[in-house]
Symmetry: C2
Subunit: 169 residues, 2 copies
């Protein structure tokens, strides 16, 4: 009984999408996933991939995944790693697979000269929060995450100048 | 009296570092910046840059900057833009320069097929929060940001297996 971790290939696209959907369901957003296998292949496995993905297998069965990309810290002056998704299927939990995945991503970070690894967790996911704390992780709770979604993004990109808001920043 | 926005070049490295330091001071972490001009040139202007940077000038004077990179949404199945730094020097505020910078980054996001633009703001920075809200931004307050810093990252990367924590995830 053992865990192995390997880089994903285009042939894993269907499995990755299944993991993404299972994670979204766990995160109480089962209908949020509109990604397709084709999109994952295009964006993750081309010449300049937007993300990297590791697959964990337990006795040869797909058990979980970690999907990450490089971000940048202007304070440190170095790239870091941001983990977008970390997930282990329910039937493979409590076997250390989540830790194995995080450990592998941490090793990749160190190899690439990164001094930080960052991710996000839902505030009600207490088991994960406790686990991350046990690794010595810090919680950056003074920072709020701000997002402009599709419609508002387009409105800002194409909108005229001279709004009242112009004077506020 | 007008604002122009252009892509940064290696010749802007000293100015970018000055902006980074001024932003860190504003964010109450004046000693947090260990980045150097050399690091910014290496990481931002090579063959595979880790970040992109825009400089705003007001009547030819450097007035502010936006530093961003591409992230990835596995739900949307598309890259997005993450803005690491957005800053306008105090003497150039209330001229709409922050909005002009955000607007330009939003246009770059749309050109690249992104459906999301994301960043973070300190919870006490009320003027910025109000400004972002006026643009229709959402605050993802159920998500906590988790970070492993240098020492803990290295410990995880190189640490042995079989810890008690192995069983928690």
């Amino acid at each position: 009984m053992s865990t192995s971790i390997r880089n994903a290939t285009t042939e894993d696209a269907a499995q990755i999408l299944e993991f993404i959907r299972a994670l979204a369901a766990f995160e109480r957003a089962p209908d949020a996933v509109v990604a397709t296998e084709q999109a994952l292949i295009r964006d993750g496995f081309g010449k300049h991939p937007f993300f990297h993905c590791l697959i964990a297998e337990y006795d040869g069965e797909p058990a979980g995944f970690a999907l990450y990309f490089f971000n940048y810290s202007t304070w440190v002056g170095r790239p870091g790693i941001y983990i977008e998704d970390l997930f282990v299927l329910p039937q493979f939990r409590r076997l250390g697979i989540g830790r194995d995945l995080l450990k592998r991503v941490a090793a990749i970070a160190v190899e690439n000269g990164c001094q930080r690894m960052q991710w996000q967790v839902l505030d009600w996911n207490t088991p994960a929060i406790d686990f991350y704390r046990s690794l010595g992780a810090e919680f950056m709770d003074e920072w709020r995450t701000v997002r402009l979604n599709s419609e508002m993004l387009e409105r800002l990109a194409t909108g005229g100048d001279g709004h009242a808001e112009d004077k506020t920043a």
